[in-house]
Amino acid sequence: MLRIDGLNAWYGEAQVLRDVALEVASGEVVTLCGRNGAGKTTLLRSVMGLHTQQRGAISLRGTDLTKKPAHSRARLGLGWVQDDRGSYATLTVTENLTLPPRVGPRSWSLDRIYEMFPNLYERRSSPATKLSGGEQQMLALARVLRMGAELLLCDEPTEGLSPLLVQRVGEILRLVKADGGTVLLVEQNLHFATTVADRHHLLAEGRVVESLDNTEVRNRERELLAYLGI
């Protein structure tokens, strides 16, 4: 579904991605792991079209995304879950959910969203930034479900959440996968990653240095945690 080839990216003079190549198949959940500054978020932002100082090939279902702006990429089926939850203070919860257009056949109805996330229903008329951190994370995930995005780009959706809410995020991602959705996930929590993902790419200094399946990650968890500095 997603193919990245020879991707290089810079912030000014500093190169942050170097010849990154990876593929994500339809229905897969794939994680990007690495220390802070390894280039994980830049890779995700490059796929979304939010980081423009880049060179290389990115395609979605065979459609070249390289010259397409972020809003066109979203309409082709990319769903963005930002690391800071991306809540709008000037929009209510319902407005946050209905702002993006519905782009795919898997788009959830508002009723289904509110059934799945009763907390959001109770706070539906509140400004989104009045929600707790966990509720805002649920809102960010609910928003891309409402869009019906085919490929979710999730940047550390479990960061700062309680273990109970981390579990909840896992349930949602597994639900997306069971529904035929695809996820590219930036995740520092290796244990969590193995509970939701099929494959893992380890990034260091802007390169993919290892690609591992779940069994390999579980077998080498201690070594990998030490490598990630966790």
Partner: protein, 294 residues
């Protein structure tokens, strides 16, 4: 008491112009991040537009009230497409300088054609009398100006808070990059929003024509106060800009009416800037402004 209420009403009318101009500036700044220095010159063009339509084409105030803002909206769209959007990726100072230069050009063009003296514009006959407000009589035209500006501010507020267009504009104003990532072409909204903001300035100019001296520098005098209003309200905050516009209008008129006689003009003129300094020290983002987000 009657005098106080009358002065307060005068202040609200004076604040109407500040509120309409600040509303346009806030809408433009919110989405484009452009401080449109030419806003005062557009206000002046609005007043001159009404004057020219009446003097050279014999068109009524009512026709000018529709035609001038629409015409200036087109001018705004052309300005945005021809100049402003080319500079939006650069430091905001470039667009500030561009609009400052446009102000000088527009003022000098009007000066060259109409001179520096005030041009007369009569109050429309339907609004030439007074209205009995119970405790005092008030000129009908001033009541109309206040009613119009309140109606427009409420209308813009309803547009922004009750419609999908408003929701998109609010989202794009608050977090432009994130909004693009949600499939919304933020750039598509920029030109019409700039045109709309310019039309509001033009409308304020038409409303001002029968009340204030129509001359090439009428906008230059006012725009500095409007900038103070927008900064106090919070850059990009629609509600803040409008509310502070009316409040400053009232405070200035109270100062002119009740401050010690030898200090009146000084206090009325410096009040907006003193308030701005205090508010910036207390809340750097303004009374209703928010810190920037991605």
């Amino acid at each position: 008491m009657t005098n106080f209420l009358e002065q307060t009403f005068n202040g609200l009318v004076s604040g109407s112009f500040l509120a309409l101009l600040a509303l346009g500036l806030a809408v433009i700044f919110g989405l484009l991040r452009v401080v449109n220095f030419a806003h005062g010159a557009i206000y002046m063009l609005g007043a001159f537009g009404a004057y020219v339509l009446a003097d050279e084409l014999g068109l009524s105030f009512w026709a000018a009230l529709i035609a001038v803002p629409l015409g200036l909206a087109v001018v705004g769209v052309v300005l945005e497409r021809a100049f402003i959007h080319r500079l939006t990726r650069l430091d905001p100072l470039y667009n500030f300088l561009l609009t400052f230069g446009l102000t000088l050009i527009l003022q000098d063009l009007v000066k060259a054609r109409y001179g520096v003296q005030s041009s007369p514009y009569a109050v429309p006959s339907a609004l030439s009398g007074s209205v009995d407000l119970g405790l005092f009589e008030f000129p009908a035209y001033r009541v109309f100006v206040l009613a119009m500006s309140v109606a427009i501010c409420v209308g813009v507020w309803a547009l922004l808070t009750r419609t999908r267009i408003g929701m998109v504009v609010r989202a794009a104003t608050e977090r432009p990059e994130l909004t693009r990532a949600f499939g919304i072409d933020v750039g598509r909204w920029i030109t019409p929003v700039f045109g709309f903001g310019v039309a509001l300035a033009g409308l304020a100019g038409v409303l001002a024509a029968p009340m204030r001296a129509v001359h090439p520098l009428m906008g230059a005098d006012l725009i500095i106060v409007v900038f103070a209003v927008v900064v106090i309200g919070g850059l990009g905050s629609i509600f803040g800009s409008v509310a502070v516009g009316f409040v400053i209008g009232v405070l200035q008129v109270w100062a002119e009416a009740y401050a010690p006689e030898s200090w009146r003009a000084l206090i009325a003129q410096t009040l907006p800037f003193l308030l701005m300094a205090v508010v910036l020290l207390w809340r750097p983002a303004g009374l209703f402004g928010r810190e920037e987000t991605a």
